[in-house]
Subunit: 225 residues, 2 copies
């Protein structure tokens, strides 16, 4: 299952490796990503590394500053707020459209994902739990059949995952999350589009407060430097 998928170019491979490294929290917010270091780690030259970094910049996993290079972004409180406010709107849109467009099979899949998450919670398997919850959101978006929306949400979620796995991140309350997912699913099943939209919005805004707490902790910690 750990099959290494062959990618057509070195740049692409570097992109995927760095993508995993960033999202798994291997770097600290604010850290400068030096091209030389990456070339040594991956054993390739600077050209494909720069290519990969620009691709990562595209997803906001890095920010570039001319003549300074690339770094892991450090969100301000306002940026985090804006980020979540937008994501709340889009997840709400997804829930609304899913209520109108999801097939019975889609709803069955969402049910299965929710129950699998529930089992993982009871088994204290937080890794699988998080994975199932992510899948739940992804599949809800997929039900809308709007690829632009799916892509936008993927990007926003990646930007948030960036920080979720980091040292300062507060862990979400899993039972609370599951309960909210259940409520969204309930609305979608009953084709209650507006209620689904509102549930999804509330759900995201709840996680904002958790993120803000975590950021405050991080800032007071690193401010000690």
């Amino acid at each position: 299952m750990t099959t290494r998928l062959d990618v057509p170019t070195v740049s692409q491979a570097a992109y995927e490796t760095l993508h995993r490294m960033i999202l798994s929290g291997q770097f600290v917010p604010g850290q400068w990503i030096k091209e030389r270091e990456i070339t040594e780690i991956l054993g390739i030259s600077r050209t494909p590394v720069r290519d990969a970094l620009r691709m990562l910049e595209r997803e906001r996993l890095l920010v570039s500053i001319p003549h300074r290079g690339f770094r892991i972004p450090v969100p301000t409180v306002k940026e985090l707020h804006d980020y979540y406010e937008l994501r709340a709107e889009l997840e709400g849109m997804a829930a609304r459209l899913a209520s109108e467009r999801a097939t019975d099979s889609d709803i069955q899949t969402l049910n299965n994902l929710w129950e699998s998450a529930q089992s993982s919670l009871l088994a204290h398997d937080v890794t699988t739990l998080a994975e199932r919850n992510d899948e739940f959101h992804r599949h809800l978006a997929a039900c809308t059949d709007n690829d632009e929306l799916v892509a936008s949400l993927l990007r926003l979620r990646a930007g948030i995952d960036l920080y979720r796995n980091l040292s300062w991140a507060q862990k979400p309350r899993p039972a609370h999350t599951l309960q909210q997912h259940q409520h969204i699913l309930f609305c979608v099943t009953n084709r209650n589009a507006l209620a689904a939209q509102e549930s999804a919005r509330v759900h995201i805004m709840d996680s904002l407060s958790i993120a803000l707490q975590g950021l405050a902790t991080f800032q007071s910690n690193s401010g000690a430097k």
Copy 2:
């Protein structure tokens, strides 16, 4: 007023030049952008050109295919539909939040922009008219004070402008556009958030039909090849 602003790097300059060239319709949808050509046009080497192309890919003004290069995207009907559906949601969000957050000064600015657009229409100055209408949308988004939303809308609008100036694009009905802008502004002024959201949504969805007509014309024209 045509002052050339100095940019810190050649890549950045190339990016801005190409950005203008693409948005002003200098390339045909589906056209391959060859690195060599760009180096000769701009008198620079391939490295900063590749850099600039990747930056443009970030805004979906280009798409890259490994070992083939970059090309101007050709939208399908479904892609165009998804694009506009998402933009309608975000412009609606912007109008809603603007109703709640716009200052009196903001509303005054929107009024001025609308009246300037109106004058341009009467003077048959379509260039200024389009510019003012764009500014109207930009400033409406700015009123929300959500930078993520502003950036997302900028990106979506650029993707649409890409096609608007092209040969196949139908011209919008200016009087109709102005009337809809006036209605949005009316709702914002009265702090009627939900009505503003709905007006903005309808406004965008109206322009979808125009775009679809244009795309159909383009496809039947180029299909003759």
